[in-house]
């Protein structure tokens, strides 16, 4: 890549605060100092798409929780960008146990200690989780 080809496609993903470095060659094909880039379109597209997918999953899971098919654990797992293996690891349980906690009936029987553990992982107040309040998901700008 030549220096003048280093992409400069900013689109607010960095809020203009962040620049990445790239190694690029000068006119005679030599690498000198790396060049700053404010962003690159394919990366912006892929990153935007990844966030869209997160939004989609969060919304779909919210529907399932509101219809009583899943417990708030499932909703907050998606909201915290976690998947089942990672969440299980974080609360120190087996995956099958966490899956059980996603059943509304089982969720109601969880101890205050267990709820508190989940709440810490989700970075929300324990009673918010206990009551099943579904805090909105905010995609980072």
């Amino acid at each position: 890549m030549k220096k003048d080809e280093v992409p400069q496609d900013g689109d607010n993903l960095h809020r203009g605060t962040f620049k990445q470095l790239f190694y690029a060659v000068d006119a005679s094909g030599n690498y000198t100092a790396p060049v700053s880039s404010v962003g690159w379109e394919p990366e912006n597209v892929a990153l935007g798409q990844a966030w869209e997918e997160v939004e989609h999953r969060v919304a779909a899971t919210r529907d399932k929780v509101e219809s009583g098919a899943l417990s708030p654990i499932a909703y907050y797992m998606e909201r915290t960008l976690l998947d089942l293996p990672l969440l299980a690891r974080k609360v120190g349980k087996f995956q099958w146990q966490v899956k059980r906690h996603m059943k509304p009936a089982v969720f109601k029987t969880l101890s205050a200690g267990m709820i508190a553990k989940y709440a810490t992982v989700f970075a929300i107040p324990a009673d918010t989780l206990q009551k099943g309040t579904l805090l909105p998901f905010q995609r980072p700008e």
Partner: protein
């Protein structure tokens, strides 16, 4: 207060090496660290999924560059992992109190100074903590352009994030760094190792073979996974190529910069010329990402576009193979 000369770099691991070593008077550029550590690589692991999306990597696994560079340059590192955050933070405080900058492994998700849209759960980010200002820690994060700060709570979370690869509070600092190093042998060993990993690993997922393996998979994405997942899989290939601190085509350019620097240092025109060829392969990777980005954006999967992307990857594999075959024949 410890003076730490922060320099922004393209990649976190090679950047931390370059920044820490310079602190001890051993000057090694980021590309040189990347090359001696044989950082360049390719791997596609369809069975290692994060949120259901298969993973690709454009560089060697986390930590490998570091340990190889230390071994080859004769730097002695002290590395600790911890069972509890309390002990880990105490140990960190003790070390920075002595004026020693400390490298550590952390999760990107918990770094408040990071651009929010990049904060996914990725646990193998490297940064340097070199002092405190009040409660907050002073951070030299190689991919940020200036020194930043982090509050102790966030640092604890970042150091003790769960999930692969688990940092367990990992911190490291040099015990002894040689002031003068002969780079000839480390360069040679690094190049030979990179050639082995790119050409000879007897697994279909890795090296040049891995690129062809991915090419075959990409072709079948729409038929096998449907429009939506196909686009997600593709998006992830681009993201792994260009994500903060990992940069895929970026790694090709960085390795090319290494070959050029090594060529100058050892007075070998051939290395410079191979570096030039690798720069062209980096451009092919960039073109691939452009094309893949367009397919992602269009949202409608058709077999033709995925077929074309697959052909682009096969072409990249051929060209990259030529580069590393040539490199493996260089006489030292």
């Amino acid at each position: 207060m410890t003076q730490f000369n922060h320099v922004q770099t393209a990649h976190c691991e090679s950047g931390v090496i370059s920044n820490i070593f310079r602190h001890y008077g051993l000057h090694i550029s980021e590309p040189m660290a990347f090359g001696i550590g044989a950082g360049i690589f390719f791997g596609h692991l369809p069975f290692v999924k994060v949120n259901g999306v298969p993973g690709s990597t454009y560089r060697i696994w986390p930590g490998a560059i570091f340990s190889r560079v230390c071994k080859r340059l004769g730097v002695k590192m002290q590395s600790h992992k911890f069972s509890s955050p309390g002990k880990a933070m105490q140990a960190l405080d003790d070390i920075i109190e002595k004026g020693i900058p400390v490298g550590m492994q952390s999760s990107v998700y918990y770094l408040p100074y990071f651009p929010a849209s990049y904060r996914f759960h990725f646990n193998a980010h490297n940064l340097v903590v070199f002092g405190k200002e009040g409660e907050n820690y002073l951070v030299s994060d190689p991919i940020m352009d200036t020194v930043t700060q982090i509050d102790p709570e966030s640092l604890v979370q970042a150091r003790f994030a769960k999930g692969f690869p688990e940092p367990k509070g990992k911190m490291y600092y040099p015990l002894s760094v040689p002031k003068q190093v002969d780079f000839a042998r480390p360069i040679k060993e690094g190049i030979q190792q990179a050639c082995y990993y790119m050409l000879k690993i007897p697994m279909p997922h890795f090296g040049v073979k891995g690129i062809r393996f991915l090419a075959k998979r990409v072709k079948d994405y729409p038929a096998k996974h449907g429009d939506r997942r196909a686009a997600l899989y593709l998006g992830n290939i681009i993201r792994m190529q260009e994500e903060i601190g990992t940069g895929g085509a970026g790694f090709r350019f960085m390795y090319a910069a290494f070959l050029q620097e090594a060529g100058t240092l050892l007075n070998k025109e051939e290395l410079k010329s191979i570096g030039g060829d690798l720069t062209l392969v980096g451009d092919l990777w960039r073109n691939f990402a452009f094309a893949a980005g367009r397919v992602c954006k269009a949202r409608s999967a058709d077999n033709i576009s995925y077929g074309e992307l697959s052909d682009m990857l096969l072409h990249i594999a051929d060209e990259e193979e030529k580069v590393f075959r040539r490199l493996s024949k260089v006489k030292f």
